[in-house]
């Protein structure tokens, strides 16, 4: 009688499995692009559904966003924790982020963006789209420990055109492991809110717990914020020891991302 280890038994189970004959690299890349385009189409459909409301609001509320009244009337969601809109837009992104955090959260600094990845030799040059001046990685330091907030926004009306972002597909939480505690909500005015809490090691190899919220407005605007408990791997620099948890809890993170200040 032959003795088998579990590994050997599994190798036996693989008998007859042929290596893939064709290369599906191009197909996978194309399908990923199509899926991203479908997400965009979904967002556009949502925009059409709320067209009358959004059109009316766009006419009534140009993107001034420097007054509490204008901010209050924007087609934004209702936050679990609300922040008063700043009377004037803060020009310094770090100061703006600081103003949106609950008091005592920590000191905010913005670090430089990574340079765009160079294309391989011979490949066509890729377009580097401009981003909002508020996009980027912000360190949150308290008691010598450093956490991070990564902010990304997209405004389809921005000129010049920004790097495109799209809303999540409906029922996106069905595709996400239960351990991420994904929650999708549709807020008043059709705003889509998706929240997750990724367990350590998922966002990046050495990342701690990462909270994420994405807010997608019917008019195509998107805000995505990642709240990282630690900063390992964000840059070649070692910024210092991390926090035990992300700098904002779920409700705080949602309120942070839902602020109208991102499009001011």
């Amino acid at each position: 009688m032959t003795d088998y280890t579990v590994r050997e038994l599994m190798d036996k189970a693989l008998d007859g499995l042929r290596p893939p004959s064709e290369d599906i690299t191009e197909a996978v890349l194309a399908q990923a692009s199509r899926r991203q385009n479908r997400r965009r189409a979904g967002a556009l459909l949502a925009t059409s559904a709320g067209l009358a409301l959004v059109a009316g609001l766009v006419v009534a509320l140009p993107h001034t966003a420097n007054g509490a009244a204008g901010a209050a009337k924007k087609p934004g969601p209702v936050s679990a924790t609300t922040h008063a809109a700043a009377p004037k837009p803060l020009r310094d992104p770090a100061a703006l982020v600081q103003s949106l955090l609950p008091p005592g959260t920590g000191t905010v600094t913005k670090i430089k963006d990574l340079p765009p990845t160079s294309p391989p030799p011979g490949a066509p040059r890729t377009t580097v789209f401009p981003k909002s001046r508020l996009d980027g990685t912000y360190l949150v330091t308290k008691d010598g420990k450093v956490a991070a907030l990564i902010v990304q926004t997209y405004d389809p009306k921005a000129v010049p055109a920004q790097w495109r972002m799209t809303a999540s597909p409906a029922n996106v939480c069905n595709e996400i492991p239960a351990s991420w505690d994904c929650k999708e909500s549709v807020l008043p005015d059709g705003v889509q809110l998706v929240q997750t809490t990724e367990p350590p090691g998922n966002w990046g190899e050495h990342a701690g717990t990462v909270g994420n919220v994405s807010v997608a407005y019917p008019d195509g605007r998107v805000v995505s914020v990642d709240a990282l408990a630690e900063t390992h791997g964000l840059r070649p620099t070692n910024f210092g020891p991390g926090w035990a948890n992300p700098p904002l809890d779920r409700a705080e993170l949602a309120a942070f991302a839902e602020s109208p200040a991102w499009f001011s």
Partner: protein
């Protein structure tokens, strides 16, 4: 998660897609028990990897990220009501003792008797040689959960393979269990 940005060529990603697909397919086949389902799972996994890579995520090791995506996609897909596990009564009877082909068939059938997460745990632990800690991190569960799922999974394998290869498997499984309780591989 949840949003995506679009950019273009990424040589490391292309290299990964070309060369790591077969390794992923082997793990997927053990979990799915079916070639077509395994190929679908791998393709879905690779698409997710591409989309994550095109997004803002920092992925230090594509292989580890893909492995995590593979098992989590597999478990998530099994949760959907239209993709439920087949009832045990529909599984084939144990094949004839002896031939390797029959043994492979019996192992695949035995694996299908496991709950999806148990199957994923056994594949990660024994086929991909991941430690208890690494498996727990990949699946987003506690190490204790990995140990208990491993124990239950091995017991099911032992019970269903004893008829095929006799007590040899039972002894080996017992050794694995003893080893598992003593050491975090």
């Amino acid at each position: 998660m949840g949003v995506a940005r679009v950019h273009r060529d990424d040589p490391e990603l292309r290299e990964f897609l070309s060369h790591r697909r077969h390794a992923l397919l082997r793990s997927a086949y053990l979990m799915c028990g079916d070639t077509h389902a395994a190929e679908d799972l791998v393709q879905t996994t690779l698409i997710k990897v591409v989309m994550a890579r095109r997004g803002r995520r920092r992925i230090d090791h594509l292989d580890a990220y893909a492995r995590r995506t593979l098992v989590n996609t597999f478990i998530a897909s099994q949760r959907r009501f239209w993709h439920r596990e087949r009832p045990h009564g529909e599984l084939p009877d144990a094949p004839v003792t002896g031939a390797d082909a029959d043994l492979g068939l019996a192992v695949r059938a035995a694996l299908q008797r496991l709950a999806p997460r148990q199957r994923a745990v056994l594949v990660l632990r024994f086929f991909e040689d991941q430690s208890v800690q690494a498996t727990a991190e990949l699946l987003g569960v506690a190490e204790g959960t990995v140990k208990s799922q491993t124990a239950r999974g091995l017991e099911v394998l032992r019970a269903h393979l004893r008829d095929v290869v006799g007590d040899a498997v039972g002894e080996v499984v017992d050794e694995e269990l003893t080893h598992m309780h003593g050491v975090n591989r």
